[in-house]
Point group: D2
């Protein structure tokens, strides 16, 4: 098994897209996993990855994948885990097929994210939601399983909310996001639309932020996920930033607390411990910045290899109780690295035999 001895073979579904390339970049250097297959849409099948795929990320494509032949997006791949970067409509038919065929499917897609028997997981927030796999197995009859990771913005909200909810209880959350362009995939937004501009709307995003945050902070009771019940108002904006979502948060708490107490809760927050440690999990999921003008997406998005949420400007709020700003790396913590961390959790918890 991965951490112990030889590497676990993994595949990437949708390997030529924006998130797919991030998966490839990260997995090519992963200590537990090795890329055994790359799958993409029909028109690229049979081509070499290096030829089919215009590399959008900085630098060059990892050498190890250049000559891999692109496989069809269907079971039969030589892999134990598949990472899905498929669009939601394709994921809807493909991901169940893989799970049925016995693969561990770690999906970044929204297709099944809020289904009753499909956990949406951030290990530091709700690793215990793996208990839903039992219901998933019973109801779907799959040999494998399907786990999802949340929307990129939600990651930057749910992680800092978690320790505050546990210690103080959340009643109301107002979130205004300033989201990076890479959150829309590639090619995503036209330069002409977003340069020198703010677009105060992202289709479906506010609903995802509200629903997924409540799911992540919810409980599994018996076989049922019971979502948290705080009120949530999300306002999503697109800004001319390449990577890193910034979120202004204002919170009302059950139990009042000072900004200093809130900072201490954020700083002390830890994820679940495994031995060996999960390679993609930072020691502290939250980095609290003391400077008056941080966090900033360009300066802070790469904290903890893009896995730490940076939080700052924790202060009281004249309307609710506490205000703060968080920054999340949307294509790492909020997408590819988040799904890989979920895979690591499943390995550590014994789901990958």
């Amino acid at each position: 098994m991965g951490p112990q001895n030889k590497k676990i073979p993994v595949a990437v579904l949708g390997a030529t897209g924006a998130v797919g390339q991030r998966f490839v970049q990260l997995l090519a250097a992963h200590p537990w996993f090795s890329i055994s297959a790359l799958a993409a849409s029909q028109r690229n099948q049979g081509k070499k990855y290096g030829e089919a795929c215009g590399w959008h990320l900085n630098g060059s494509m990892p050498d190890v994948v250049c000559d891999m032949l692109i496989a069809p997006v269907e079971p039969g791949l030589d892999a134990r885990i598949v990472f899905s970067a498929l669009p939601a409509d394709v994921a809807r038919s493909v991901e169940p097929a893989f799970a049925a065929a016995g693969y561990i499917v770690c999906s970044n897609s929204s297709a099944f994210r809020l289904d009753a028997d499909v956990p949406v997981i951030i290990p530091e927030v709700n690793a215990d939601h793996v208990s839903l796999f039992k219901r998933q197995h019973e109801e779907r009859g799959w040999q494998g399983l399907l786990v999802t990771s949340p929307n990129c913005t939600t990651s930057g909200i749910a992680i800092p909310l978690k320790p505050l909810d546990v210690a103080l209880g959340l009643k109301k959350v107002m979130a205004v996001s300033m989201q990076a362009v890479s959150g829309a995939g590639y090619p995503g937004l036209s330069y002409l639309d977003i340069q020198d501009n703010v677009i105060p709307f992202i289709n479906g995003e506010e609903e995802k932020m509200e629903r997924e945050s409540r799911a992540l902070l919810g409980k599994v009771v018996g076989k049922k996920r019971v979502d948290a019940d705080f009120a949530f108002s999300a306002q999503a904006n697109r800004v001319p930033v390449s990577e890193g979502h910034t979120i202004c948060l204002s919170l009302e708490l059950e139990q009042k607390a000072t900004a200093v107490e809130v900072v201490d809760l954020l700083k002390d927050f830890r994820g679940p411990l495994h031995s060996p440690a999960l390679p993609s999990m930072p020691l502290f999921p939250i980095q609290v910045r003391d400077e008056v003008d941080r966090p900033q997406p360009r300066k802070d998005r790469a904290a903890g290899d893009g896995m730490q949420i940076s939080v700052g400007r924790v202060r009281s709020c004249p309307v609710l109780d506490i205000r703060m700003v968080s920054v999340v790396h949307n294509t790492l913590r909020g997408a590819a690295s988040g799904a890989i961390l979920n895979a690591e959790l499943l390995v550590a918890e014994g789901y990958v035999s």
Copy 2:
């Protein structure tokens, strides 16, 4: 007097700076005013404006000012009205000297903005605050007078709040701003600091937004300005946009209303009527955009020659009552044009003899 026959001579204090250049650009083409003097700091005095001043705005400096000699920033200028684009610390000593000497001082500076006897005015919002001039005259003994215009962001908040406050009553306001770089003057922010970035802090801005909004929506009772008493939480962010502040607003109202009713109130809002009309006052101070993704600063900042506030995405809020997005042109409505509109109001109301 201006509107009737010949033009009123006006001067610009701090004429070489960012807001000063906007004043020059606008006044060079003004139907009521003509530039008779340009004043700037000592090191530029006696030089021609065209030589002392690197023109930061697009296009070229107006021909009519190129050869004007720069005067000292002190009374003695051949002008009836002076527009002040001075930094707050300089304004503190200079503006009273001009007012004492009989000039009408229309200031864009924050130096006296919240003094008890110095009105901060947006004509469409609180033209009646001119009644404070009586107290100003009594207490200061000035022959002239001093009027101020609000902070650039406040303009984008107070105008849409006004009709809602009148009709429905404001209880709470949450405002998260995404502010253009030009709001920091010239040279302002380094490209290296703000490109590909969001800076979630602007020194003193949140306090200004909170206090000035309450002042503008307040009442003058006898000789005293009584500020409005709604709770206000402001979170100010700098984004890589050249001009146009975008503000996400969430409101709690005394009297509940639907989004449709709120839109109607915004659309019907009108400023005070004078004859002839004030040249810089748009027929409708608020433009409501119906598109799902508007207003946007690049596309909407120039509405009504930069004097209209664009509002959109009016919808209910799960935490408070109503959410909306507004865009204000920060160097026109929020700075130079705003101060010029105040001067026009004073002319129309007979303060400029």
Copy 3:
């Protein structure tokens, strides 16, 4: 006829695209022309323009076109002149059909731009190339005619070269362009590709710059266009600028001249005179900037309503003879306004009966 009495009805082909919208914006306010039809691809036919077309330009769509129904791109439109903003492959079949049916076709497409009997014209440079219409009529048998305008970058090169070629004779030209993103149409480049970046390649652009410049500066001898024979090396780059192409030029001349003499030639350059004047033709096609750091695309692209080429930094060259920098507004002079100016020329010269 247009300038004398009532407006000439004109249509736009490809009216929903980036250049098409520019045509609509400009023609809606044109003194000689009035929009009588808007044509676009099949999927938009029969819809209202205001519904089919997401308005990409700043501000709002002109009211007058909002309710016009989109027509098919085929002869039968109620118009005398058609402006074509079609992609080259569509233009290849459609434009001849319109010309055959008697329309005056003013094309911004590259489809026929270098055909032997289709003039590519900038009125200030080679208005006399209209003599090719005779050959066009003889060979094609069209009742109407087809005129093209050059590639957007070429406009910023051919105009400043013209007076130098006439007075001094061009031997060699080196041009390195830094081109705005809008030159690639809409949606054009992904923000993720061009932000914080330079792309040193634009497909086909260097060849167009070289060939079209020689065509524009060539002569029509009898029925044949004889291209100019100077050597031309073009290097095209895309830079993160919204509008306005900047071009660094270095020239070798037959007859040596000082930088001062070159500046005088540029400043004195005039286009052909007609009475009444062509509405889109600036009095001086070239604006020479004296500042050491001009022209700049953001500050100078709008000179002369986007129709003036701004030139600066004229100085000697250690390798060839003279260096200079030019800026051209690529979607106005280099696209829509350029084609409209051609139409005005044809009206003035009596081709539009």
Copy 4:
């Protein structure tokens, strides 16, 4: 000595500025050097580096320097090598004082860069210019020595020119640069000046590119540096890019060669070999990109840890012989890393005892 056993103590002069911070970032992790002192201007002296210095680079300041006290910029520092990131006017008096006092001064400043006895060195290009130290010692009487590294743009020109000059002989060079904003230091350019813009002028840059390129490709004959004598025309532009200068080059060669032959010369180029290898010297100083649209600054600047020059689009030129595009990381190869590589060369060559 450094490579053999314990680390060599080094100091940074001008440690709080833009290049100074790059020195600190790189030296904090250097295998041969350890930071023993940080010096900066008077107003910061005695403060902790972590307090005096707003960290402009991404991420956080290295822990090891946070508590170091800032020293005065004068001899007496506990260090063997000093890296100078001083402005030219300060460097003019300070650097000789350090060299006189026995320090090895590796300067990034232009103050002495073209003095007859001060070598400007890129190890891969002209390591043999160290022979000028003999003359420097004789004429100046310094116990230490002073070596300079070239202007950031020159690095991106001289390295690809070197193998071509050796094999084919250079006659003429035309260079048009598109330079990143970080080349102007911090705070450098205002966002308002450079966003959505190109500035076709950088003060003094074109002269530096021309003169330093000839110096680097020149020979030392006896005690005299004889500069190369090719003609050089440089046109420098500032573009909205954070880091990475892009340069369009066109060359005339003594001996004609095909693009393929030129590519082979570039690919095979190697720097001088030492044992152990210099830590900052890439195995191949030039990376040739085959893609039609590379190199690009954002994607290629980090090649070889920012020390490789990326070259592409090698093709023939209709005016001269060969055209190509190069990209250099201006604050690494072109500034801090370049000076550190010079220090490594001096260690390897025995100048640092």
